[in-house]
């Protein structure tokens, strides 16, 4: 976003635009390369497990709203639903997808 100052600008204004100001901040050391680089797979794994559980939670909202007026069947239905997903959590845990390696 460097812009060269037009000549009619006063001197004190012109010196606001020196180029160091638009350097990337890296504690005063000149920046080497871009910050945009390839990141580790672990971020992806966490966000993936997150999406699965987020969808699970969405399915539980309608169930939770009407649960009080339902018979015991509603409890066992949700128990099966949660049980299958707990298996998923267990699997991710055992496979080390929840480890920050």
């Amino acid at each position: 976003m460097w812009r060269s100052s037009p000549s009619w600008e006063p001197a004190w204004w012109r010196c606001r635009c020196w180029s160091q100001k638009f350097e990337t901040y890296e504690s005063g050391v000149p920046t080497i390369g871009q910050a945009w680089s390839q990141f580790n797979v672990r971020y992806y794994l966490f966000s993936l497990v997150f999406v699965v559980f987020d969808v699970e939670i969405i399915y539980l909202y309608p169930w939770a709203v009407i649960y009080r007026n339902q018979g015991p069947a509603a409890f066992y239905d949700a128990l099966i639903f949660l049980g299958i997903l707990a298996l998923g959590l267990l699997y991710a845990w055992r496979k080390g997808a929840l480890e920050w390696v």
Partner: protein, 327 residues
Amino acid sequence: MPWYLELLRAIAGTILIFSGVAVVAAMFGVLLERKISAWIQSRLGPKHVGPQGLLQTIADTLKLLQKEHIVPRNADPTIFASAVLVVPLAALLDYVVIPFGTAGGGRPLIFRDLNIGVLFFAATSALVVVGILMAGWGSNNKYALLGGLRSASQMVSYEIPMGLALITVAMLAGSLSTVKIVDAQAHWWYVVEQPVAFVIFLIAATAEVNRVPFDLVEAESELVAGYFSEYTGMRFALFQLGEYGEMFAMAAMAVTLFLGGWRGPVLPPVLWFVIKLYALIFVFMWVRWTLPRFRIDQLLGFSWKVLIPVALANLVVTAYVVMIVQR
């Protein structure tokens, strides 16, 4: 008036009110934080601007308003600039569904009593993650990008236990509407019935707003200011507003869901709400200035291996008890 116009009006009203009330609340929050941290560390804190330093944040905001915007040469200007809008807007939208008290005739004081209130809250606070990731990536700064990535993986991890705590409460109240949830607490606050969900919600809320002990995002000794390192002037202030706005929203939601909202004897409802709100805010600040920081593997492990199993178990046990009681 058709309901969608009403919704638009509610959103516009929220934003308008926010330019007044909430900005002041966030500014007061900053001052409170500085005063409380000073008190905990046996210092005086800001003292010179106004009586007892009360006007310190106003002075700071005025200063930030005058500062120029600097967009680093290497940054991605579009994403860099649009991230500033996402974070505070997402935080402010949370307030649409929070009942602050009662107006005349027992009518709840709320912008819009949505029948998906709790879900709306979860959805808008989830948008903050995207804004933070955009800020981190758009800056093209190693500190900012690392901060943004850490923040995103932390916030998404803690959204799950928070959602499970919300569902537990929604199940007890039989509704997602925040007004109905407050109504359902006429006899018992849910903190009595659901202490586990309350603790889970508080921990997750602390992590969602990136505060100590979960402040790896902006661990100043390693990452400068985290995802907003490169922002200057008013843009920096907007991120601060988003952060404190989100903290107040989380505390207000905790009050609504677990502490009976505006319910209380003698004093007017709005006052009760404010008292409970600031009590929780004090807890957040107290924790911040007393506890050390987690390591990132501990942080994520704590969410996935402790909080989520506990929250799931709590949900199942609560559902079971509700079923037994109803028989």
